[in-house]
Amino acid sequence: MHLSKHTPVAAPKDLVSRMLRSPDMLFKFSTTEWDMLVRQARSAGLLARVHYVLAQHNMIEVIPAEARWHFESAVTLAKKQQLAVRWEVEQIRAALSGLDCPLVVLKGAAYVTAQLPAARGRLFNDIDILVPRNLLNQAEAALMLAGWHTTGLSPYDERYYRRWMHEIPPMQHLHRASMIDVHHAILPDTARYFPDPQKLLNGIEPAGDDLPGVYVFSAEDRILHSATHLFHDGELPHGLRDLTDLDLLLRHEAETPQFWPRLVARSEELQLGRSLYYALRYTQYFLDTPIPPTVWHDLRSVTPNAALLSIMDSIFTRVLAPAHASCDDAFSSIARQAAYVRAHWLRMPAHLLIPHLIHKAFVSPYLDDSTPKPA
């Protein structure tokens, strides 16, 4: 097997990915292990998804009575959020109906509107949409007219978003507080690799009959976007959740003939081969995602050398574990910093990156005033 050559260092205390790989281990769980599983799964945003997996295995009864409500509450919230996401997407579509472009929803909202297995037990923070860059100003104006407004960022962050990012600052609805991330590309213009948004738009598909006018990326592009996001984003509070999304997307599409060759070919076309390689490596590592050996062979031109790979393993096996103190070891904090710097390194050239990191390290902490006071 591919990973046996360079087995990454495991985070042995990560109970969430361990039980997702082999749910049967839960039969032997002690009270303290259940306590830890609930805490880690909550930190990872995976309580509802774990419940869904156990339901699929007819294993709900294995959850001790005292722990069960945590999972059921999360399921309640996930169901409500999915209903809300569908409704919000319809509101966004109506708000943007005057624009001469289709509404493309990304990531979680795409899984929900297209009713994919990756929607099951998915919790949401925001809705991501993509509009062509030349219509960005019009889209922002139309969303503002419909009640969404740019949230209170510092002037520095606002400028940073508008000048360098592939999205405008997050917009929040005045009454419903729903958040939208409006993208015009999936990576910043300054990134080392820049997949042409037009190529992605050429491949879009209708989300479903019940949501006319709403589109999602093709199956391959959805997976590549999810992979790109994981390996270009500085902070990964929901890294393991995003890996489980990828795992569900891959297992679902793997049933389609010729899926794997098409995925690899598309990754080359979009300059995202390396991201795909890492995504497959770490979904397999954390979640035992079945990946045919031919895929590794086909990806050999983008496979990092052994030295780089061992560094990447030591970083990503740590930062993709649940964001909970119990999953951390002595190197977790360094690994997180390394992932942060690496993501920015990929996103912008050094003459932009260095001033940005200095601002983030020494100026932003003293301006941050965003955490709410207790009610």
């Binding site: 930190s43 005292e66 409500k80 103190a325 955490t371 006071k373």
Partner: protein, 310 residues
């Protein structure tokens, strides 16, 4: 084992180390803190609650209250609330450590326990029937709640009405009653022997102190109660004691707006809410004299709930 059976030294040591496991109503907590004020507050107010060895028990909420940074220990000391490593609130002055624990616990319950419809209201019980007391701040809700539970009513909660979505019954969470500003003195005079802990000043809610919950309410904390009435109290100087029926539809709308998680529950929230409203009497209640108010409530508890007034 009850918390009061722990020696002060053991309590402090456990809080600073593995944490103290504590059960309040349907929820178990694991609390950790190096702050003497937290140990003092728990020992003052939670003596009747069950504790266990925290290293072997399942806890619903893992919380920590400590100074946010080392520097802050010396310079304008502060306290930060952490929910299993996350800080949902800004740090507060150290003087507010104990109220922060209570506010933090309210946050833990209202953000997570969606097996209940959670209404922002006090709730007390007599003869098996509960009175829900929803009201905006300043309406005298806490004072009335404290007065009632010091006069033979059972405390279910002073902030969070937990309605079981499966059974419609109200579950008890008889944690200390929060008293604000003038009501601290009112309750001291009403019942001089009742324990009220040291006040924290200049909080967002003014001066805040907590009243120890009655022993009998804590002993019966696992006994749910059937909803009997929804009563909106309003304290007004010199007002005569008056109970007037109010519309069930309006009451429902108010409860839905003042529920922490009504919208999270979708159609089930509506079902639980309407089922509740159908079986309760709904009233507005004005008063100026606490003794008269309690007498009026006692009279109400002696009459059948489904009167034809509404």
């Amino acid at each position: 084992m009850k918390l009061q059976q722990l020696s002060a030294a053991d309590l402090r040591q456990q809080l600073a180390g593995e944490g103290v496991w504590l059960r309040t109503g349907p929820f178990s907590l694991r609390i950790r803190s190096q702050l003497p004020r937290i140990a003092e507050g728990l020992s003052d107010l939670y003596g009747q609650f069950e504790v266990r060895n925290s290293s072997q028990a399942f806890a619903d909420f893992h919380i920590t209250l400590n100074p946010p940074t080392r520097l802050r220990r010396w310079f304008r000391p502060q306290v930060g609330f952490s929910f299993d490593g996350n800080q949902p609130f800004k740090a507060l002055p150290l003087d507010q450590a104990y109220p922060m624990l209570e506010w933090g616990l309210n946050w833990c319950v209202s953000m997570h326990a969606h097996q209940y419809l959670i209404i922002h209201a006090a709730v007390v019980e007599k003869n098996g029937l509960a009175v829900i007391l929803p009201a905006p701040p300043g309406s005298g809700k806490s004072t009335l709640t404290a007065g009632l539970v010091l006069s033979g009513w059972r405390l279910l909660s002073d902030e969070l009405t937990l309605i079981d979505r499966k059974t419609g019954m109200i579950h008890a969470l008889p944690r200390p009653v929060s008293l604000k500003n003038q009501s601290i003195e009112v309750i001291r005079q009403f019942s001089p022997e009742t324990f009220i802990n040291r006040a924290a000043h200049d909080t967002l809610k003014g001066t805040v102190a907590h009243m120890r919950p009655p022993k009998s309410s804590v002993q019966r904390q696992h006994e749910p109660a059937r909803p009997g009435w929804v009563i909106f109290p309003k304290w007004r100087a010199d007002a005569e004691t008056l109970l007037t029926p109010r519309s069930k539809a309006q009451t429902f709308m108010f409860l839905a707006q003042n529920a922490f998680n009504y919208s999270h529950l979708g159609t089930d929230g509506f079902r639980v809410g309407t089922t509740l409203i159908e079986q309760v009497g709904c009233y507005d209640f004005q008063y100026s004299q606490l003794h008269e108010a309690i007498a009026a409530f006692n009279q109400l508890a002696g009459t059948p709930t489904q009167d034809a007034l509404v």
